[in-house]
């Protein structure tokens, strides 16, 4: 059995398990999606609709209006947010959305946006905890994330044993998520895109897709094993510009088809509530929308909490407010842009659309207006994929470090495994890769959300406490830089 076949059968087994579904009105509803939606709903209500009350405070925090001048030079709210966003904005926003629309019709967009809005509350909860229970090491560096709040937060509540078990499971699943969604899915879709712009089936790379994977592995390896930090730094700086370029291109396509905009919105709304032409109708559209949104913005999975926990602040709640913006940027803005582009140009309705892969469909919708854009999109895809892989390799490394007490050997073993899967990802079929990536990533939400519920009181106390102190004027903005 070659590695790709082995992977495919393993992926099928895992997917069947994680995506255990019940039949509702002819659509199969994976319970794990319900799990995430309920968490989003719960924290939306539990925290008192902070998505509506909090954004102004979030933006003021990002702008540094509450940062002490003495902390100049430390990690700012903006930097923590930007780092987390660049790990989140990846192929989920380009390919995932296309997959959602080709499976769930335009109506999936509506549910995706709803999921993004609900995800803001979950993200707020987990990132606040990440800061509250982070560990400061002797050298001043910090480690945070669900492993730490599950272990230490639950211990405070007298649930130390359960906390330790959940933390270990979380760390194991995060390693899986890093290898799957954070790595294989990225290298798979980037490879498809590279082959497609170099000539599709006639490309010299067609049938030799592993060569692209090998190249990716070499580049990621240069950063994470070779320690060539300049590659990572350059990527971090280019990605935001690519994101802006991508959104600009979406806007151009949308403006070009401005007359179709009302009809497109009509399709999105009617699709959301009628589910016409979609397998499973409304429920089908809803499931697909929620699933793709969760995969894209990672709310409830706990991964972003690792990135957010490096911020310099005395108030854990501040980072909760800042992190809340992440699903908004990722899903409500970027995913919606992609969705509108695909729906407005009508490419999702093309007869051969179901046979296209995620990125190809998005690429085609841009091509209708900007014939040269697929080349730029390919570059964006490759860069997004690369930066997401770097972020997730970091998450995976932190999880490995947690499990093996920061053992250098264990971290190096993880890095090598990560790179091997980069190559496998490029050569495996999309379906298996998507299934495995989803399974591994969604598994993280099980221990994480159990922990969030058990710590719900702590979360509300911190978030409301801070919010009230801002409202009452006890916490004031910093007037000067000095």
């Amino acid at each position: 059995m070659n590695p790709v076949d082995w992977f495919n059968s393993f992926s099928d087994w895992l997917t069947g398990w994680v995506f255990y579904s019940v039949d509702i009105g002819g659509a199969s509803l994976p319970l794990i999606v319900v799990w995430l939606v309920i968490a989003g709903l719960f924290f939306t209500i539990w925290l008192g609709f902070m998505q509506v009350r909090g954004p102004k405070l979030s933006i003021d925090l990002v702008r540094g209006k509450y940062s002490s001048p003495d902390d100049a030079g430390e990690v700012t709210h903006f930097q923590a947010l930007a780092t987390a966003v660049s790990g989140t904005v990846g192929l989920g926003n380009i390919a995932g959305v296309a997959v959602a629309i080709s499976l769930g019709g335009p109506g999936a967009t509506f549910w995706m946006i709803i999921a993004g809005l609900l995800g803001m509350a979950t993200k707020m909860a987990e990132c606040m905890l990440g800061v509250k229970y982070r560990r400061q090491h002797a050298d001043g560096s910090v480690s945070g994330g669900p492993m730490y709040y599950l272990r230490d937060g639950l211990a405070e509540r007298g649930l130390g044993g359960l906390g330790k078990v959940l933390a270990v499971f979380f760390a194991i699943f995060m390693i899986g998520g890093a290898v799957g969604g954070g790595n294989m899915f990225q290298s798979n879709q980037a490879t498809v895109q590279i082959i497609s712009v170099t000539g599709g089936d006639d490309s010299f790379l067609a049938g030799n897709d592993w060569i692209v994977g090998l190249l990716f592995a070499a580049l990621v390896g240069a950063v994470i094993i070779g320690g060539i930090k300049s590659i990572a730094k350059v990527t971090e700086k280019i990605v935001p510009f690519m994101a802006v370029l991508y959104i600009t291109a979406c806007i151009i396509v949308i403006l070009w088809n401005i007359t179709s905009v009302p009809a497109a919105f009509g399709d999105i709304f009617s699709g959301a509530f009628t589910g016409e032409g979609v397998a499973g109708g409304v429920i089908g559209a809803l499931i697909v929308g929620f699933q793709r949104a969760a995969f894209s913005n990672e709310a409830g999975l706990g991964s972003a909490s690792v990135a957010h926990s490096a911020v310099k602040t005395e108030e854990p709640a501040t980072e909760g407010f800042v992190a809340m913006l992440e699903p908004f940027i990722d899903t409500v803005v970027i995913c919606t842009m992609t969705a509108l582009t695909i729906v407005i140009t009508g490419v999702w309705n093309d007869p051969d659309a179901p046979d296209l892969t995620g990125v190809d469909l998005t690429s085609r919708s841009f091509e209708t207006v900007l014939p040269w854009f697929p080349g730029v999109l390919a570059l964006a895809v490759v860069l997004f994929a690369f930066s997401t892989m770097l972020s997730w390799s970091y998450y995976g490394m932190k999880a490995t470090g947690y499990l093996f007490g920061d053992s250098v050997v264990a971290e190096n073993v993880f890095k090598v495994i990560f790179l091997i899967f980069t190559v496998i990802g490029s050569a495996a079929a999309l379906e298996e890769v998507i299934n495995f990536s989803d399974s591994a990533i969604f598994l993280m939400s099980i221990p994480n959300i159990i922990g969030l519920y058990l710590l719900a009181r702590v979360i509300r106390k911190e978030i409301h406490g801070y919010y009230d102190r801002v409202q009452s004027g006890e916490v004031v903005q910093v007037a000067d830089r000095i």
């Binding site: 930097q79 990572a232 970091y394 000095i482």
Partner: protein
């Protein structure tokens, strides 16, 4: 005793600015505040591992600034027998120097004409010219 802020960095013109300031401070009975600003913006894009180690890195930057810039400049003031204070801060150099000057109620600002970053100055203008444009107190630029 009136306070005068002197912006310092690695450059020769900065050394000349401190010498000039010390000379004047002796005659006018000034206290000098030597300020070095480490160029930094809260809005840069960073990697997760950079963030993880940022606190330690910042500590190193401050130590290096003290060792390599403020200590030698401070010695010039000490030799001249002028009371002085040393401040190192992260931020945008011109804005931070202005904020510190305001905070210290400085009556005067003294800086060297060219800093130690040639290319950036060629594109965005020098710290000295920004100070001249925006300061609320007289600025002396030492060539």
């Amino acid at each position: 005793m009136e306070t005068v802020v002197v912006g310092v960095d690695n450059s020769d013109s900065s050394t000349r600015a401190v010498e000039f300031a010390v000379e004047r401070a002796r005659h006018n009975n000034w206290k000098l505040v030597l300020v070095h600003v480490i160029n930094w913006t809260p809005y840069s894009f960073t990697t997760p591992s950079e963030n993880e180690h940022r606190h330690r890195e910042r500590q190193r930057e401050i130590e290096a600034a003290n060792d390599q810039i403020l200590d030698p400049m401070g010695r010039i003031a000490e030799t001249g027998g002028v009371p002085h204070e040393e401040i190192v801060h992260h931020g945008k150099p011109s804005d931070t120097i202005l904020d510190i000057a305001k905070d210290k109620d400085a009556i005067h600002l003294i800086v060297g004409r060219t800093g130690d970053s040639g290319l950036r100055e060629a594109i965005f203008g020098s710290v000295a010219s920004r100070l001249v444009q925006h300061a609320g107190v007289p600025v002396t630029v030492v060539p």
